[in-house]
Amino acid sequence: MLRFVVRRLALLVPILVGLSILLFLWVRALPGGPAEALLGERATPEAVERVQRLYGLDRPWYEQYLRWVGNVLRGDLGVSTRTQHPVLEELLRTFPATVELALTAMIFAVGVGVPLGYFAARRHGTWLDHASVAGSLFGITIPVFFLGYMLKFAFAEKLGILPTAGRQDPLMDAEHPTGFYVLDGLVTGNPEAALDALAHLILPGIALGTIPLAIVVRITRASVLDVLHEDYVRTAEAKGLRPATIRGRHVLRNALLPVVTIVGLQVGLLLGGAVLTETVFAFPGFGKFMADSITARDYAVLQGFILFTAVIFVLVNLLVDIAYGLIDPRVRTA
């Protein structure tokens, strides 16, 4: 098992090195060059020259690259031209919100998707099955921002039962020691704030979780259908095990293996979708910050955030691989 983990980690190195070179060259390929990209379009020639010298832009590119990697490894991702704060600081400030949102979306997707997929497979060919297949096809195609609008209009503006925007009622007296607002409400002994933060998560969570939900339904359904026809299930039935035991111990446990992989792959989708969802709901997370940085052409932020997302994405997939190896011994040697 340890060898498996080490080998997977070693495979990550060339990917991350390649990606960092790509992102490094990306800023150099931007219209106006890196100095203007870092300073903004209205930079004076003196400022450009100062930055050129400061960042050693007159040196050969590989030297510049090594210097940049050194800075990144020390946590220096540059400074946002829009807010004038270090990119890392902005990242750490906004990321907890997105983690909260992505978790809500994933809980929604798995919590609804696995049972739905399971029952669709058990009732294969019935209306429930057909409806879940049709619904999941629909769910995959509906754009996140359109769904977000519709949810916001129906539940927040018309019915008025859920908040339209933000993470917390601004009038509420709440402290935020961790940056995870629901958790903050609980640790500061303010259950009202926790509930309020939770209410702010529901609509964006559903909007962001719908595509993963559709995917989880499909995978669970297909996987349960596969497992139901396995020899070991028939053996278990022939042995006279109770149906509940067969379902829990044999069918569900084996059928959930592919679901684990899929859940890991959704992390990328969630982080990308967060840019759109957070824009719709004015949810002050990593995605909203990134969307605002696009409009402001704040390239230092885009570079740092994309690199960070890629690292997270790759690490989560590594964790999924490891989890998979723990559940299914066959994977370890493959």
Binding site: P14, I15, L16, G18, L19, L22, L23, W26, A29, L30, P31, L137, F138, I140, T141, I142, P143, V144, F145, F146, Y149, M150, K152, F153, E157, A222, L225, H229, D231, V267, G268, L269, L271, G272, G273, V275, L276, T279, V280, M290, A291, I294, T295, R297, Y299, L302, F305, I306, T309, A310, F313, V314
Partner: protein, 300 residues
């Protein structure tokens, strides 16, 4: 051989009777999902092609009086009402189909061409070429699609070209991986062994035998990718990365522009949103049923 495989083999003779293409066509015609998909796609394509003739008004000029507090809704003259600048919403949704189709098809073809070239290189040569190409593909797949597209589009300075290239680049690794996997599988097949043993040249085997036999899943993936390309293009436009030319009505930007009027004129968001869903759903349904028709594994 497991039981399910044995069943497929036993059932096969009476079900096929003809080429794979003819068999697939018969299955498609009998599948209601395929029919629904084909109808939606036809609607979308016809509207896209005929938009200038179908549209009752010019797409970029105000045709009625509006103020931010009173945006007229649907009426006999303006089926979908007017937008926030007094332009005919119906006309703009029709024209949006045209841009959506152009962006979708161009980005798909570009991405497919690039991806297939990479996949062909990796699959045909193997060895270190394969190693290098696949590491590049892994790298590209390590950035979530939409964020990758945002990066590429921002680098190209936004606009229609930028969006098309960005979506193409994001789709390239998918096609590369698909074609390579297919070619590796085909390389071990009996007919390749047969061709090799009678002395057919390597180049001829790759281009004449392996490549055509590997293309089926590429066609399926292409249809499905067209759906995601349309949705992704709308997403990039929503974020302001597409053209800001008012004579180019794009569904994604129309949605973004109506954000402020969501409570007073929600239909302005509904029409372009539904248009995106119709286009994307059409290609998804068609792609899924194509996959079922062409690949026995997915028949269920």
């Amino acid at each position: 051989m497991s039981l399910s495989q044995a069943e497929t083999v036993a059932v096969a003779p009476e079900e096929t009777g003809g080429s794979l293409g003819r068999d697939a066509w018969r299955r498609l015609r009998r599948n209601p999902v395929a029919i629904a998909g084909a109808l939606l796609v036809t609607l979308f394509v016809v509207v896209a092609l005929l938009a200038p003739w179908l549209a009752p008004y010019p797409p970029d000029k105000p045709v009625g009086q509006v103020t931010p507090v009173s945006i007229p809704g649907p009426s006999a003259e303006h089926w979908f009402g007017l937008d926030d600048l007094g332009r005919d919403e119906f006309t703009r949704v029709l024209w949006g189909a045209r841009w959506s189709l152009v962006i979708g098809v161009v980005s798909l073809l570009l991405g497919m061409a690039g991806g297939l070239l990479l996949g062909l290189l990796a699959g045909a040569f193997g060895g270190w070429v394969d190693g290098v190409v696949m590491r590049v593909v892994d790298m590209m797949l390590s950035v979530p699609g939409l964020l990758f597209a945002i990066g590429v589009a921002a680098m190209l300075g936004s606009g229609l070209d930028a969006v098309m290239i960005a979506i193409a680049v994001v789709n390239m690794p998918i096609f590369a991986r698909l074609l390579r996997g297919q070619m590796l599988a085909q390389r071990r097949s009996d007919y390749v062994l047969a061709a090799t043993s009678v002395g057919v040249r390597r180049r001829r085997i790759v281009l004449g035998h392996i490549l055509p036999n590997s293309l089926t899943p590429v066609i399926v993936q292409g249809t499905l990718t067209l759906a995601t390309a349309i949705v992704d293009a709308a997403g990039l436009a929503f974020l302001g990365l597409s053209s800001n030319d008012p004579s180019i009505p794009e569904w994604g930007r129309m949605l973004a522009d109506t954000q402020r009027y969501l409570s007073s004129a929600p239909l302005l968001a509904v029409f372009p949103g539904l248009a995106i869903v119709i286009a994307a759903l059409g290609f998804t349904l068609l792609g899924e049923s194509l996959r079922e028709a062409l690949d026995p594994k997915y028949r269920r």
